[in-house]
């Protein structure tokens, strides 16, 4: 039992990384724009598909394909911002309009890919090298788990430093809190929004690669559940709070895996219950999330 649990711990970390990276993207964008980018899961999915096609159709070396996938996600996110969200910001669209636009973008992208590629699950390319197993006592750790582990830690550390110590990162936190006053400091909030989308979308791309490596499959609908769970993690971490989102991502992703691990097999379809139950409990006890949110709450939420 202890061994099984230890083994699941590794999976827990991988899934936690995937959700953590997605959560950071959501929280950055929500923090700055006050809008939920429902299409974030599709940005994730596009990254996975780009990697898949580059490797299987064009025999591109995996590492290059992975980097291209992250770039593709970033570009998709930037296009999305330009076409869908910036007009909303410019015209000061009401929340409901933005909600509909965001949801619409998500459905559009998902069904566009379904139309071209059908919803059939395909095998995500995993380099043979990554299948190599190392043994810590009796626990098997794959090279891919190590790669996911190391790269996630590095990336999250870089993002945390960026947010906390660079001028643009500080500006992002300022705009997140009070965009109007930030403009009075000479900050072009549109530029800051673009940076948030670029970083958030790049992280979604990395998350997609990790997802592909961990689960080995991809399909047009793959972004829906991880996206939703990533969003829940962002809320749990305190909206706009980047380190909070990282931690919450691990809590939810890791927790979900361990929850299933501890359940008797017959009850494993209850897996999604974990996330929703956790959300319910935490919102009941601490509605603003586990950590301090990074937005100025006015009216609707109140504190």
């Amino acid at each position: 039992m202890g061994l099984y649990l230890a083994q699941q711990l590794i999976n827990a970390f991988s899934y936690g990384s995937i959700l953590g990276l997605l959560a950071v993207g959501y929280t950055m964008i929500y923090g700055i724009l006050g809008l939920i980018n429902f299409a974030h899961g599709e940005i994730f999915m596009i990254g996975a598909f780009v990697c898949f096609f580059l490797v299987t159709l064009y025999q591109v070396p995996w590492v290059i394909a992975a980097l291209a996938a992250v770039a593709a996600s970033t570009v998709s996110g930037l296009i999305l911002e330009r076409i869908v969200y910036r007009p909303c910001v410019r015209r000061k669209a009401p929340v409901l309009t933005v909600f509909i636009a965001s949801f619409g973008a998500s459905l559009f992208l998902r069904f566009l890919f379904m139309m071209f590629f059908t919803d059939r699950r395909r095998a995500f390319p995993i380099p043979e090298l990554f299948e190599k197993m190392y043994f810590l006592g009796e626990i098997a750790i794959g090279l891919r788990d190590i790669i996911i582990f190391v790269s996630t830690i590095i990336i999250m550390a870089l993002v945390a430093v960026f947010i906390k110590y660079t001028k643009v990162g500080t500006a992002m936190r300022g705009v997140s809190y009070d965009a109007k006053t930030a403009e009075l400091m000479g900050i072009n909030s549109i530029k800051v929004i673009v940076v948030a989308f670029a970083v958030g979308s790049a992280l979604a791309g990395v998350s997609a690669i990790e997802y592909g490596l961990t689960f080995g499959i991809l399909n047009p609908g793959m972004g829906f559940m991880p996206g939703l769970e990533g969003f829940i993690a962002a809320v749990l971490g305190g909206i706009g709070n980047v380190p909070g989102a990282m931690i919450a991502g691990f809590l939810i992703g890791g927790g979900e895996i361990l929850f299933v691990a501890l359940l008797p097999p017959s009850l494993s379809p209850l897996r999604p219950l974990f996330v929703w139950a956790l959300l319910f409990v935490i919102l009941f006890v601490k509605p603003t999330g586990l950590f301090r949110p990074n937005v100025k709450f006015e009216g609707l939420w109140g504190e």
Binding site: T170, L184, M185, G186
Partner: protein, 236 residues
């Protein structure tokens, strides 16, 4: 002429606030903009800062019309705003607020120099550099808001009700600092409900009522005016 507002009519969405106002500020002077709540003082500042645009008339900085520019560009041109109600970034530390105020500065030396100037004006802030600005007292937040506006090294500083909600001894201290800032060469447009105080530090003043300029002139004249004394200073 540094700042020139000519026949400006403006408001928000469909609500008109300002009606045909004309106002100007010369370099290095302190001008007071006075009036009761709702008279349109903050609206005037928002017009200057570029947050709202005049419906009729123009706002010009050194003869350059500010209408086509966004607020962040107007800051770069030399106007810095310290909004009403302080509006510090409560989620950031004192230092980070100052850092954001200096967003447009390139080069660490220039940043360092401005920081030092701000520290000499507000030593209290230097003691609380890493403190979350949301946890500062009202007076300290006001100091931070002014300091932050100064980090942009403006030629014209817009101050919106710096005395609001502060204890008299703090108000005195802030007003001394305002005079120091002016002595260092910055023009200040001072919006205030506290008429007596504002007229003491300024060289000229405008009285705004219901969106129109009711009275204007050198401050000593306004202080002596029967109208001002009766309506604003409570002296019959």
């Amino acid at each position: 002429m540094l700042l020139s507002i000519k026949n400006v009519t403006a408001g928000y969405e469909k609500a008109q606030v300002l009606k045909d106002i004309t106002l100007d500020v010369e370099a290095k002077e302190i001008v007071a903009l006075l009036g009761a709540n709702g008279a349109g003082k903050t609206t005037t500042l928002q017009c200057i800062a570029g947050v709202i645009k005049p419906w009729i008339g123009s706002v010009s900085l050194r003869n350059r019309d500010l209408a086509p520019f966004a607020p962040y560009q107007i800051v770069a041109m030399g106007i810095s705003c310290c909004p009403e109600g302080r509006d510090v970034f409560a989620n950031l530390s004192v230092y980070e607020n100052l850092r954001i105020g200096a967003y447009l500065i390139r080069g660490a030396k220039e940043f360092r120099a401005r920081l030092d100037r701000v520290y000499s004006l507000f030593p209290r802030l230097q003691q609380r550099l890493n403190q979350l600005s949301g946890s500062l007292s009202g007076g300290e937040q006001q100091m931070l808001a002014i300091a932050r506006a100064l980090m942009a090294n403006p030629e014209l500083l817009l101050l919106d009700e710096p005395s609001l909600g502060l204890a008299p001894i703090l108000v005195e201290s802030i007003y001394n600092t305002i005079q120091e800032i002016n002595a260092a060469g910055k023009a200040i447009l001072l919006v205030e409900q506290n008429v007596g105080l504002a007229l003491e530090v300024s060289s000229r003043g405008y009285v705004l009522e219901k969106g129109e300029i009711r009275l204007s002139g050198p401050s000593p004249e306004l202080q002596d005016s029967e109208y001002v004394k009766a309506s604003y200073l409570g002296i019959a």
